[in-house]
């Protein structure tokens, strides 16, 4: 373990900070905007992201990325375990009290969108972004089914099918996977449409981070102190469980550890692992589909755990670099 950790070079630490510090700074800007607005316009940001920016980001990330069934299954299973297991255990240990179940939900359901997407892109490039989009969509599916069931006693699968990103991602995967091509004279139009979507997708990155910071403007330090110890469990359990899951995947041979001759495939597998761990370290989802709010709306104090996760994230990035990419560095 010590040798793994000591393998992190100053250049790598610098690279992590080069992504992480701007990220925190932009989140602080979001917090400032939230304070100005008294957080009255969260809906504006949600609407922009849900209806325009996230679909464009999903499309741009996936339309040139060949998603394999194996990857879909691995990510889907990981999301199911990471998001479903803790609340189910919590429900088991806390008895069948619905209130405790609901309180446990927000920190345990990963906010796949707000933070994972920009972080994955800034850290791992387009491949990381594509994997993060898949993670995000599976989290949304869990929100609408398991999450809604745990919170309100019934699933809202219909909400999942109202998420525009789902259709953007499906369209992108179809475009990437099918051998059908647009007629030659239309290809230029298609390419220009993709360019428009790509420009919008890049705009999603700062907006997602701002959207994360926006509600933090409402957090009082008093409340934070009071609730921080309670949230610490949720904060630390996510990445710990994800590392365990990655280890299990490796043991089962689903994510081979050997570098082999194909270094690109090796890096791809490590990126999958990194995205799973990163996704599990994310704060609670503030971007639950708007439609879900009909069944259940996330409580405000749940947002208090967000700040603790920012610090955890920094530590997780170091662990990802030292434990997951250790072999890839050779």
């Amino acid at each position: 373990m010590a040798s793994y950790l000591s393998s992190v070079t100053p250049t790598e630490i610098q690279m992590i900070f080069r992504v992480f510090i701007p990220f925190v700074a932009i989140a602080v800007i979001g917090m400032v905007i939230g304070r100005w607005d008294e957080c009255r316009h969260q809906k504006t940001l949600d609407k922009l992201l849900c209806c325009v920016f996230l679909p464009c980001l999903s499309f741009t990330a996936l339309h040139r990325y060949e998603t394999s069934l194996r990857e879909l299954l691995l990510t889907g299973l990981a999301v199911l375990v990471l998001t479903g297991l803790p609340p189910l255990l919590g429900r088991l240990f806390a008895g069948r009290s619905q209130a405790s179940g609901v309180r446990g939900l927000p920190p345990l359901f990963r906010g796949g969108a707000s933070l994972l997407l920009p972080l994955a892109y800034l850290l791992f490039g387009t491949a990381g972004l594509a994997k993060a989009v898949l993670f995000y969509l599976f989290v949304q599916l869990c929100w609408c089914t398991l999450g809604a069931w745990l919170a309100g006693g019934r699933c809202c699968p219909g909400s999942f099918f109202r998420i525009p990103s789902l259709y953007a991602a499906a369209l992108a995967m179809m475009a990437a996977g099918s051998s059908l091509r647009a007629p030659e004279h239309l290809q230029e139009f298609v390419w220009l449409f993709e360019k428009g979507a790509a420009i919008t997708a890049m705009g999603a990155l700062p907006l997602l981070i701002i959207n994360f910071g926006y509600p933090l403007g409402r957090i009082g330090w008093g409340g934070l102190k009071e609730l921080l110890p309670v949230r610490m469990l949720g904060v630390l359990s996510g990445p710990a469980l994800a590392f365990f899951l990655v280890l299990l995947y490796r043991r089962l041979g689903w994510l081979e550890v050997e570098t082999g001759y194909d270094i690109l495939s090796h890096i791809d597998r490590r990126t999958t692992e990194a995205v799973l761990v990163l996704g599990a370290s994310m704060p609670a989802s503030l971007l639950a589909p708007a439609a879900l709010s009909r069944c259940w709306s996330p409580d405000v104090p749940s947002r208090l755990g967000l700040l603790g996760r920012v610090f955890t994230l920094c530590a997780v990035l170091f662990f990802i670099d030292s434990l997951i990419f250790f072999d890839a560095r050779g």
Partner: protein, 329 residues
């Protein structure tokens, strides 16, 4: 086989992605029947954070040329001063008392439409030049424009423009190269990265906001703004062409390629940016100022709507003029 000729393809490449994004905004507005999206929040984000970052990000990456700044800024200033008496003449003819009528005729929408087109057509070089023009337009709007609608210049507002400081800092970063300790250099690299990420958001948000506004336009309200918008869309480019001709005659933008083709390309890009910006419809900010000072906002809104819709037709024409005449020369 390509659908367009190479020149036409360039124009379509510059315009279609922007129109695609505007269409996303338009669709968002159409589906948002309760108008829940708060445009002020979006505008504030763009105005205070995204645009200053875009300005700084594009200025600090290239060398800052004061002569170029004088040429582009001077062109913006001259175009505004030429359009002012014309706007006042038509205001008198339309028997309108409020000066707010003149604002969408005098000033240009150099942000929402022109910046993305400049970036897509001329790359970062064009974007940086377009930003210089945009800055001058905004600075005059916040001083002279505010004076026109409120009766007094609002210097306080002028000095509150965040992009002003971004321009100054960008120019400073581009012109100075101090020897700093390594950790400070690393700190700068981190800062620049954050600014670059924020800058990504400026252009799509500007266009989506415009598309969203357009979705509320009613056809019956468009008649009122026809004269002003036509004046802006036709008068602007004509004045710009005259100005470019004068610049060429004065030797500030030499027409011949000379021995340095890169310098010649730079001159032509400057001319293209001047012409492109001059052909823009009125700015949304003019309407917001009219609303703020209650200075005939309805007519301004109508002019902006007609101008922006008309721009869909005139901008490709201007771009074909740019690629076919200015850049080909």
């Amino acid at each position: 086989m390509s659908l367009f000729s190479s020149e036409m393809s360039l124009i379509v490449q510059a315009v279609l992605p922007s129109f695609t994004i505007a269409f996303f905004g338009f669709l968002l507005g159409r589906f948002d029947r309760n108008r829940e999206l708060n445009q002020k929040t979006v505008s504030n984000m763009v105005y205070y954070f995204f645009t200053p970052c875009l300005v700084f990000s594009s200025l600090h990456k290239r060398s800052f040329d004061f002569q170029e700044f004088a040429l582009i800024g001077g062109a913006a200033l001259l175009l505004i001063s030429f359009m002012t008496p014309v706007a006042f003449y038509f205001k008198r003819r339309a028997r309108v008392r409020e000066n707010g009528y003149c604002l969408p005729i005098i000033f240009m929408n150099t942000g929402n439409i022109s910046l993305p087109i400049a970036l897509l057509l001329f790359g970062n070089e064009g974007l940086a030049k377009a930003i210089l023009f945009h800055m001058m337009n905004i600075l005059v709007l916040y001083s002279f424009g505010v004076y026109l609608v409120s009766g007094k210049p609002d210097l306080k507002q002028f000095f509150k423009i965040p992009a002003l400081y971004a321009t100054l800092l960008g120019a400073l970063a581009a012109t100075t190269d101090p020897q700093l300790p390594a950790f400070v250099e690393q700190g700068y690299a981190i800062l620049y990265k954050g600014i670059d990420v924020l800058a990504y958001g400026a252009i799509p948000l500007l266009i989506i906001n415009l598309g969203y506004s357009m979705s509320a336009t009613r056809l019956e309200a468009l008649k009122e703004g026809m004269t002003g918008a036509t004046l802006r869309l036709v008068g602007g480019p004509l004045l710009a062409l005259a100005l470019i001709y004068a610049y060429r005659l004065g030797g500030w933008l030499p027409p011949s390629a000379g021995l340095n083709p890169l310098a010649a390309l730079g001159y032509r890009t400057t001319e293209a940016i001047i012409l492109l910006n001059a052909s823009m419809p009125g700015p949304v900010m003019a309407y917001l100022l009219n609303v703020k000072f209650d200075n005939c906002p309805q007519k301004a809104a109508s002019m902006l709507a007609v101008g922006t819709l008309g721009g869909i037709m005139t901008i490709p024409l201007i771009l074909s003029l740019i690629t076919g005449t200015l850049m080909a020369g």
